[in-house]
């Protein structure tokens, strides 16, 4: 399996599964977040256990529940056996005595991921180059009036803070305690990185456990549990319409699958 198995670049960087399957078909514990626009977040993974995409790219390769490679040395051994990769590593990391190594593998994947951006109609609107539809504009106002923007803001509409899931009303399933597993601080129980809303229409199912299938339901749950608000169906529809303006253009040329060295 590859990075693209769970983070399919043709499908907005997700696999559309509640949680992904590893190399033996084993079921993972959390929903695979999209890789698009992710490199700009304050940290990686739902619990922020990797500081950046360079650190993140090392994780799944060795995770026995994901790609399951036995060691860094084994990864390096496999890459060194492919002459095309040896040459490509030399070109990518010039002057290094041993360019084919696990660290450089992650650096290269991360450099590629740093180009995975999906500008949308909302960006064109922010730049003054186009309008939102009447419903989207109404949803944009509702989004702010409801308080969604207190967490979902900045260029990524999220991804820049951690928040307790169930801030105003406890979340129904606390089996995954979130960031406390990383920090071991009580204050981080049920705390997760605020996900980006970029391409949210295309990246369900939703939340860290992928239990919520529809965007409308996700909006209602967030309003109730994070903001202590009950939105009408019309408000939910309007906010959902606004969120769909965040669906961006996939960079087809940038993500085109190359012929792999053998």
């Amino acid at each position: 399996m590859s990075c693209n198995s769970c983070h399919d670049l043709e499908k907005y960087g997700v696999d559309s599964m509640p949680t992904s399957r590893g190399f033996k078909g084993q079921i993972g514990g959390r929903n695979a977040p999209t890789v698009y626009n992710a490199a700009g977040h304050l940290a990686q993974f739902w619990d922020g256990r990797a500081d950046d995409v360079e650190a993140q790219a090392k994780g799944p390769v060795l995770n026995p529940g994901e790609m399951g490679m036995p060691s860094k040395a084994e990864v390096e051994y496999r890459l060194e056996r492919i002459p095309g990769y040896v040459e490509l590593f030399k070109q990518a990391f010039p002057g290094e005595p041993k360019p084919v190594n696990f660290h450089n593998m992650a650096q290269a994947i991360a450099a590629f991921e740093r180009g995975l951006v999906t500008p949308s109609r909302f960006d064109r609107f922010l730049k003054g180059g186009g309008g939102l539809s009447p419903q989207e504009a109404k949803g944009y106002q509702e989004f702010q009036a409801a308080g969604c923007a207190s967490c979902h803001n900045g260029p990524y509409m999220g991804g820049n803070s951690y928040k307790k899931l169930g801030q105003m009303k406890p979340w129904s399933n606390e089996s995954d305690p979130g960031r406390i597993a990383v920090t071991h601080l009580d204050k981080d129980k049920m705390v997760f990185k605020v996900p980006s809303l970029r391409n949210i229409e295309k990246t369900g199912p939703y939340f860290h456990d992928g239990k919520i299938q529809t965007l409308d339901e996700a909006i209602k749950l967030m309003a109730t549990h994070q903001l202590n608000r009950n939105l009408t169906n019309e408000q939910v529809a309007d906010i959902g319409a606004f969120m769909k303006s965040l669906t961006g253009d996939i960079p087809k040329a940038y993500i085109a699958k190359p012929e792999l060295p053998r």
């Binding site: 670049l9 070109q91 990518a92 290269a108 450099a111 590629f112 009447p134 504009a137 961006g248 699958k257």
Partner: protein, 53 residues
């Protein structure tokens, strides 16, 4: 009349809230980092490794 109203509504909503617009900003062209420059050979290799099974 309804058509005119529907066209004017977005403008009216948005011009009322100039401060809130500052909460958001457009996506950057890329998410380059000083500690891992996006050189062409590195991005080319990274793209291959991303798809490497």
């Amino acid at each position: 009349m309804r058509l005119l109203a529907s066209l004017l509504l977005p403008l009216a909503l948005l011009t009322q809230e100039p401060k809130k617009v500052a909460l958001f900003s457009p996506l950057p062209g890329n998410m380059a980092s000083g500690h891992n420059p996006m050189t062409d050979p590195k991005v080319k290799l990274g793209r291959m490794l991303y798809y490497e099974p």
